[in-house]
Symmetry: C2
Subunit: 240 residues, 2 copies
């Protein structure tokens, strides 16, 4: 289950933090590391900080954008230090781990970490089904990036040790939709909403975000998404 969990680090500034994160992952049995636009990688500083986890660095996949990093993933969880203006489905680390491990028995899931200083951008957080916040000291909540990876990887490991091994094949009827397919749905939806003049340049960003939030909370299944896209196609056909 742990090998189906992908750790995604976005825009990491210090290569030492990538190495320390790899070490944290490996101590907890995680292996899949994706790096989105790291400032410096590969790097000898990363190798030095990884201790003997440099095998994870050698296997790490570097990509240019979050979409590529989430390729093939169903459930996506983003880390966030604080609640945002628009409240998103929010998990505590323990709940987050239990949920991710449950999905990871059959599918690839992703846990996304932002930049050391500014975290994840709003548009990146919008791409996540859930957000997870480590319950830190409100007067000093600045966990080091690798320390945050350590805490959440630890919870994932504990949850995996508690989860009974599931040998049943995935029930195709209820398989989750992939992140790519969900993204295509949002593009399709936005286009159709513009076409029916529900959206305009004034309100589009706000409304699309609310819609993403709504669908994120449900964690869409593939067959449900087929239905939604079928509706969009039907609307378009009628307009044509």
């Amino acid at each position: 289950m742990l090998t189906n969990i992908r750790i995604v680090l976005i825009g990491t500034k210090h290569p030492g933090n990538i190495g320390a994160a790899a070490r944290a992952m490996k101590t907890m049995g995680l292996r899949q590391l994706y790096l989105v636009n790291p400032v410096e990688f590969p790097s000898s500083k990363a190798v030095a900080m990884s201790s003997n986890a440099d095998d994870l660095l050698a296997e790490a996949i570097v990509v240019n954008n979050l979409e590529q990093a989430l390729s093939g993933c169903s459930l996506v969880v983003g880390t966030s230090a604080r609640q945002r203006k628009l409240p998103w489905p929010l998990l505590a680390p323990r709940e987050c781990a239990e949920l991710m491990i449950k999905h990871a028995t059959t599918q690839t899931v992703a846990l996304v970490f932002g930049r050391e200083d500014t975290g994840l951008l709003n548009e990146e957080l919008d791409r996540c089904h859930y957000h997870v916040t480590i319950p830190a000291n409100p007067e000093y909540s600045s966990l080091n990036l690798a320390a945050a990876v350590q805490v959440l990887s630890y919870e994932l490991r504990v949850a995996s040790l508690n989860e009974p091994v599931n040998h049943e094949p995935l029930d195709d009827e209820f398989a989750l939709a992939s992140a790519e397919y969900i993204e295509k749905f949002y593009q399709h939806l936005e286009a159709v909403l513009y076409r029916i003049r529900f959206l305009d340049s004034q309100n589009a960003e706000r409304i699309m975000r609310r819609l993403r939030r709504l669908f994120s909370r449900t964690v869409l299944e593939r067959k449900e998404l087929n239905i939604l896209r079928g509706i969009l196609v039907a609307v378009t056909k009628q307009l044509d």
Copy 2:
């Protein structure tokens, strides 16, 4: 409750790890840091790695031995990466945190971490009531010192958030014995056991360790210890 928890680092080699540990503590609301024979402290490297947790470094107390670091503490838990030959009462991090928080509502408790490379010595582990092991990947269990402090501090914070605040004054009848007083008891016990020729230079170490383990498991109360010492005094008096 969290301010009644003392983090004790023994023989830390790299000052950067002390700074990173202070940062990890502060993010979780812990403040009491004791350093036993650090190789380099104070240190600018420690300050650099502490981010804005240098106030904890300024307040940190440096001592020459573990006894001084445990002064005034009742419950003492030592971190250990692996089970030793002589099995000691062993806690998972979550149980450890719940137990420590329970005691910390009224008393000072200590969580002890060893050297980066070799951990705690057997004689140091013998001074602890319990051991705690982070359930790491058996093929790569090498957590960075500050990462281990982060995981256990995180569990302590989560346990403190779950614990109802206890305003009842400590019932003196069942107050725990202090670490110093327990140590004096072991010295007294060992002397008496030599005197009655139960111990000799061949078996003393092994037997005293088994006795420590036995009493550690019980977490002795002060009044119980008074009784035990009373027995030792009585034995000596009879022999005289």
